[in-house]
Symmetry: C2
Subunit: 465 residues, 2 copies
């Protein structure tokens, strides 16, 4: 039932069914993903993957964003997916901590450019369908599936990508069901890989898995038509540690509950849309650090306004949710990657730079004596009465003066989302060194996707060829 239900919903959904805020969320999701894919294109995880896999590249029909390379669509999906995730700077569906765009948008843009002739509206509809599919499936197995050690972005992402590409290419309900099955049987992503190149391989491989599944299903390759719900199908196997996983999946997919506004009402425009719960990171690091960076960035502004220097600070005291110390308590980070797991570093760059962009996570910044000296003056206290996106930071100056900042909801949360201007600043910051003068045209092309006659033109705007 679940497989058929999901395939039917995806097949039947019309662009005219989409509320305007859902379309708007999809544009922002695409925009943020594109900036991340361009911005990550020169990271070693992307460049090593590209160089090692070069002997396998097929006909060049799809662009590697941020580069002058064209490759076959499968490898474009893989490599753009890797680049989009490698800085941990992409979108987050906060209820499941899935990063939805990597698998889905990477697969879709590769197929759209390869085949050609797809409008922005067709693309956005497929993007929304894929993201809803992966996030609903994520909710079905959350949190046990993640807790046991699966990287939920890619384990659900293969299926999301398959559904999205099936939608874009107009596959039948039965073909879409087979595509779901071929994708579901490729369960990619162990959390043990966090911290290594292979972490960003996960959303890339999920994009490729899903693309391949849809193309094979379109040509008649058969799978199970009960891939999600069967006794030895996806939910029961990868959610084996979750009680009642099937009932939970039925709930989230809206089976027999269409009238309750939950799940995926077949072909209807009401119900809960997961894409509205997608968020964008202002800082390329673990999301629990964000409130500290936000609070310290506000204090940076106040220090400047009052003519005070960071060197005048005697001590910094941050009160945070307990998870912050547990997950990001690295007091002496040695390089950029370790800096992403240090709230001390987050606080220091907030105070010193008033922001946290990829530049503040370069090795040289993490090793800078002034940054280290600031970091060493920061102390943290866990307080479980604080929310996860809340922080209080108190500065005591050398002359005894006290400055305070209390962030109730960090920027980038659902309550205080990044606005279009902030997203654009992030895009420009990530892409300008890669795209040069073309960065503004690229930004405009991405913002205007809904009007695009052929989204292949956007791929071209995002590369240097």
């Amino acid at each position: 039932m679940a497989t058929h239900h999901l395939a039917s919903w995806a097949h039947n959904l019309l662009y005219s069914d989409l509320p305007q805020d859902v379309v708007r969320a999809a544009i922002k999701t695409f925009y943020n993903w594109a900036g991340c894919a361009v911005g990550g294109s020169d990271h070693p995880a992307a460049t090593i993957a590209r160089s090692t896999l070069t002997p396998f590249f097929g006909q060049p029909t799809a662009s590697l964003l941020g580069t002058s390379y064209s490759v076959d669509a499968q490898h474009a999906a893989l490599l753009n997916g890797i680049a989009s995730h490698v800085h941990d700077y992409d979108d987050t569906h906060l209820d499941t901590i899935i990063h939805p765009a990597g698998p889905v948008a990477s697969a879709l843009l590769a197929v759209a450019q390869w085949k050609g002739g797809f409008s922005g509206k067709e693309f956005l509809l497929a993007l929304i369908v894929g993201i809803e599919a992966e996030c609903k499936l994520g909710l079905s197995v959350w949190p046990e599936h993640y807790d046991v050690g699966w990287h939920i972005t890619s384990t659900t992402g293969s299926i999301g990508a398959a559904v999205a590409v099936s939608k874009l290419l107009g596959l039948s309900i039965q073909q879409t069901s087979h595509a779901i099955g071929i994708a579901a049987t490729q369960v990619t992503g162990l959390r043990e890989m966090f911290g290594a190149h292979t972490k960003s391989f996960h959303p890339g491989r999920a994009a490729q898995n899903g693309l391949m599944a849809a193309i094979m299903a379109q040509g008649g390759y058969t799978s199970s038509l009960q891939a999600l719900e069967a006794k030895r199908g996806w939910a029961n196997v990868i959610g084996a540690t979750k009680p009642d996983v099937q009932a939970n999946m039925d709930k989230w997919l809206g089976i027999a509950q269409e009238t309750h506004g939950v799940g995926l009402p077949v072909g209807a425009a009401t119900g809960r849309w997961e894409i509205l719960r997608n968020s964008f990171k202002p800082f390329p690091c673990g999301i629990v650090i964000h409130p500290v960076i936000d609070a310290c960035s506000r204090l940076h502004v106040e220090l400047e306004a009052r003519g005070l220097a960071v060197g005048d600070i005697q001590s910094v005291h941050a009160t945070v949710h307990p998870l912050v110390l547990e997950l990001t308590g690295k007091a002496k980070p040695r390089d950029g990657l370790e800096g992403k797991f240090s709230f001390y570093h987050g606080g220091a760059i907030g105070l010193l730079y008033g922001k946290g962009t990829p530049a503040q996570y370069e090795d040289a910044v993490v090793q800078d004596p002034e940054v280290i000296a600031t970091r060493d003056r920061i102390r943290g206290t866990a307080d479980s009465s604080l929310a996860a996106d809340e922080a209080r930071v108190v500065l005591t100056m050398n002359d005894g003066e006290v400055l305070q900042s209390h962030v109730l909801h960090a920027v980038g949360s659902l309550e205080v989302p990044m606005g279009d201007e902030a997203l654009e600043a992030k895009f420009i910051d990530q892409c300008s060194s890669v795209l040069g003068d073309g960065v503004h045209a690229a930004s405009q092309a991405c913002w205007a996707i809904v009007e695009a006659e052929d989204v292949a033109s956007i791929s071209k705007a995002l590369c240097t060829c």
Copy 2:
């Protein structure tokens, strides 16, 4: 520890460490795999995969066996892997029901032909290393991992293929560890796909996953160095339903137990070799049916010798292990695929043809009135005192005479393995319609692999180009 231990063992093993019976088992495994890959090359699961993926093929450096096509090595690994498994006729490691050769040999032959210059001995050493790796890992998680719904051939096969290709290409221990990690994070294969094309996709994709992992690791792509044993690594995640899975893996990998003759002693030639426990199927169907086909084939000979016809049989009574009725109790199979899950059909073709080759599983044979009439006279009784590879069949003729056959160990079991002649007859039967006059040269080339200066020549003997 487990990841490093496995990588070290693989890296250090020398051809001179291999006992002669292990080399002999590897030759037979390769020979049987090659015949299956050629024989399955025109099955729709292979031809649909080939045609749908054609737009992605890279430089043609590796042959699709049984065809005139050359493709990039990744797609050769995938497509030869699919073909080798599609008739359910490949090898079986009976302790885990892993089909070891599909993932490992498909990856290795593709790489060997692509890169060129690998001798038969180098190839066999890598084949043995890969098969030991996947079967030991399979034993580590057996049976819970299979019971919950994973297709153990491909979930372990990706890693086996990665280790094998790493060995062939001479990767360092650290590179091999990274390759294990990149492969381990791609957990492919749900049992729900049994009965569909996607079942044979599993070993093919495992071959491709492992090949890709080794190539990426060789170029510096990083993964976890504790991918197998970490808290959120392979064994704990995919073996989450098995108690003490880590201790069990240590046991099977021979960690701290090198002196007990169990596991994988580093660089030594003693210990238990899983490849010696690999078996070959005389019949392309579920292995539990084999004793019935064997017993009925013997009765076919006896009927012929005594001038009796199958039409003279009044009733057939088979006493079998309970699993036979449970797994293969399909009394009215409608086509070849369903015939593979019908011990009634197995009995009928044994009596009528004295054999069970792919020809006896063609749709036309399953639907033949004489076959149906024979099938309908067969009754089965479960008897748990029988072994799984044992069967008793009693024929009652129309004149009241009774003929009996008692198979203690079916042909193809470890006790009564297929001899070289039987394997060769199987190879010729599978390949002659595909390779034509070239079939004998192909057979000779495969048997002589240990003497080959460059195994690329064997790839060429197995295709029609």
